[in-house]
């Protein structure tokens, strides 16, 4: 196994923290992501990441904690999208697009300003590609608490959210406050992408949010199985990403490792391809029922 685990892997505190924070973020991203895919809000999820980026970069500029910036930005974006009309199916793309455009503009400005400021070299890289190897114990604790909060809140609204994702009309007839439930979900989504932006970077956190759930929902027959599978796929991708990134430091004579985010996304993609192949190979449910 020594070829797989390069020297120092097991003894390295930074690696251990990275694996822990990666685990937490992957679990939350996968569970929130299942609902995001179910609701067809991948685009909104991506836009929220860009808003979070603007928030993170802005926080960096004024000297606030990046995590607060990422999450504050995302939640503000969720509120803006709701105000513009993300709840209506037709308004959804427009609201998302408007917020996305504004966020990209702000993010570009903040990153430009941060890059010009010589004392903050590497900020841009950190924000865009994540900083999982620089996560300290205090950030790990914050991320863990936030994740617990997101999961508890999501569990609380899970059934009304599921029903309104299936059909707004059915949910309304059952007395679900569809708009309210949708807004709460958007806020949870914003917090989730804000956290994963810290870990694998703003550019690729959508991949961790959408990839594992999309793969899981392709092959799972049952919703609960889909959630569990998404979590497993997300954690595997994150851990393998951390491992490969660590190893990559030893691959090149120059000792310049590749970013974690690249490896995470690579694994996510491989998982998706495998899931698609499995999905194709399995007989479709209707055919199976027809022949039995």
């Amino acid at each position: 196994m020594s070829w797989l685990f390069e020297p120092g892997w097991w003894a390295n505190g930074t690696v251990r923290t990275a694996l822990l924070v990666g685990f937490v973020v992957a679990v939350v991203s996968a569970i929130v992501g299942v609902f995001t895919v179910l609701r067809g809000q991948s685009f909104a999820g991506h836009a929220l990441t860009d808003v979070a980026t603007a928030g993170g970069a802005g926080a960096f500029l004024v000297g606030l904690a990046p995590l607060a910036g990422f999450i504050g930005g995302g939640v503000a974006g969720a509120g803006a999208m709701d105000a513009i009309g993300v709840q209506r199916v037709k308004g959804r793309d427009i609201a998302t697009g408007v917020v996305l455009g504004a966020a990209m503009g702000l993010a570009a400005l903040f990153l430009f300003l941060a890059a010009r400021d010589s004392s903050a070299t590497g900020t841009t890289q950190l924000i865009l590609f994540g900083s999982i190897f620089t996560v300290g114990p205090s950030t790990l604790a914050q991320v863990s608490w936030l994740s617990a909060g997101v999961l508890v809140a999501l569990a609380a609204i899970a059934r009304p959210l599921l029903l309104s994702s299936l059909s707004v009309e059915l949910a309304v007839a059952r007395g679900v406050r569809v708009r309210w439930v949708g807004l709460v979900f958007m806020i949870l989504l914003a917090v989730a992408v804000g956290m994963s932006a810290i870990v694998i970077g703003a550019i690729l956190s959508t991949a961790l949010l959408i990839g594992p759930p999309a793969s899981a929902l392709r092959v799972a027959r049952r919703f609960a199985v889909g959630v569990v599978l998404a979590v497993v796929l997300g954690v595997v991708a994150t851990w393998l990403g951390v491992l490969f990134a660590y190893d990559s430091y030893y691959w090149f004579p120059s000792h310049r490792g590749l970013p974690v985010s690249f490896f995470v996304v690579a694994v996510v993609l491989v998982e998706y391809v495998i899931a698609s192949v499995v999905h194709r190979a399995a007989p479709s449910p209707s055919v199976a029922a027809g022949w039995s």
Binding site: A156, R159, P160, E169, L170, G175, L217, R222, F223, P285
Partner: protein, 278 residues
């Protein structure tokens, strides 16, 4: 005994002087009708007549409505437990891993917050509802992959599991072939009698409903006429409703509503037994 007296004296649902005005246009004007316990009522009207709007009024979802809607003599509240609803168009993504039985279970607890464990009794109730609508054989298939008629049954089970006293069905027969139409109607009739649930079902066509319909609510021109089929489907009543003279023909056990003066132009399609000229 008291409840029977109560039931006999008071209709289950009463709509009194309901008017819906959207952007200065009266969609429905002074609508009055009532539905009694266990009755099968057809809500008949052509496209845009206001059938879906009327369902929304009954569910307490319609804005800009005046008049009153009473259930058991009390003004309706939003999300009334005693009313079940199957909307007109429900499109399920075939890729969603939601089985027919999951959707039925959500009819019982989809509005509840929290992730409590589903009681054993709920699983039993789901099976019972699926059997009641003959959906047992596809209970474990993804709901998005089912045919229109199969989905319709699952949606009925979803609406029935909360044991409503009134079931609202918005055009459940659209897009079904004639055989399936008959099957679904027979099934709904059976369910309504066994579970003693009143049914209000909207359709463009009243003929398939004639054998089971206790009463009809006929919508046209924003107005409503209601009563038994014999009371409502008469030239005098329907002419007043449409605002011009129409005839009612009864041929081979079918009812045809025809405008007396046929318009100039292409002959009316003979595929439409009910031909009405506005």
């Amino acid at each position: 005994m008291t409840s029977q007296l109560h039931e006999a004296s008071q209709p289950l649902l009463e709509v009194r002087g309901a008017t819906v005005n959207i952007d200065g246009r009266d969609i429905l004007r002074d609508v009055n009708f009532s539905i009694n316990h266990g009755e099968f009522t057809g809500l008949i009207g052509s496209n845009g007549a206001g059938k879906t709007t009327l369902f929304r009024v009954i569910l307490g979802l319609q804005r800009q409505v005046t008049g009153s809607v009473l259930v058991h003599g009390e003004p309706i509240t939003r999300a009334n437990r005693s009313i079940g609803y199957v909307p007109q168009k429900v499109l399920f993504d075939p890729d969603l891993p939601i089985r027919a039985r999951d959707l039925v279970a959500l009819g019982a607890d989809g509005h509840r917050y929290g992730l409590s464990r589903r009681p054993r009794a709920l699983h039993a109730a789901v099976d019972e509802m699926l059997d009641a609508v003959d959906a047992g054989s596809f209970a474990d298939r993804r709901v998005g992959g089912l045919s229109g008629g199969e989905q319709q049954r699952v949606l009925v089970a979803h609406a029935l599991i909360s044991r409503p006293e009134l079931l609202l069905l918005d055009e459940p027969l659209a897009n079904l072939d004639p055989g399936s139409v008959e099957e679904i109607i027979a099934l709904l009739h059976r369910v309504s009698q066994r579970q003693r649930v009143a049914i209000l079902l909207s359709a463009h066509e009243m003929n398939p409903l004639l054998p089971v319909m206790d009463r009809v609510v006929y919508v046209a021109n924003g107005h409503v006429a209601s009563g038994t089929t014999d009371e409502v489907v008469r030239p005098s009543v329907l002419s007043a409703l449409y605002g011009h003279h129409v005839d009612v023909l009864r041929v081979h056990g079918r009812v045809l509503v025809v405008a007396t003066a046929l318009p100039v132009g292409p002959a009316p399609s003979d595929q439409h037994p009910e031909f009405v000229v506005e």
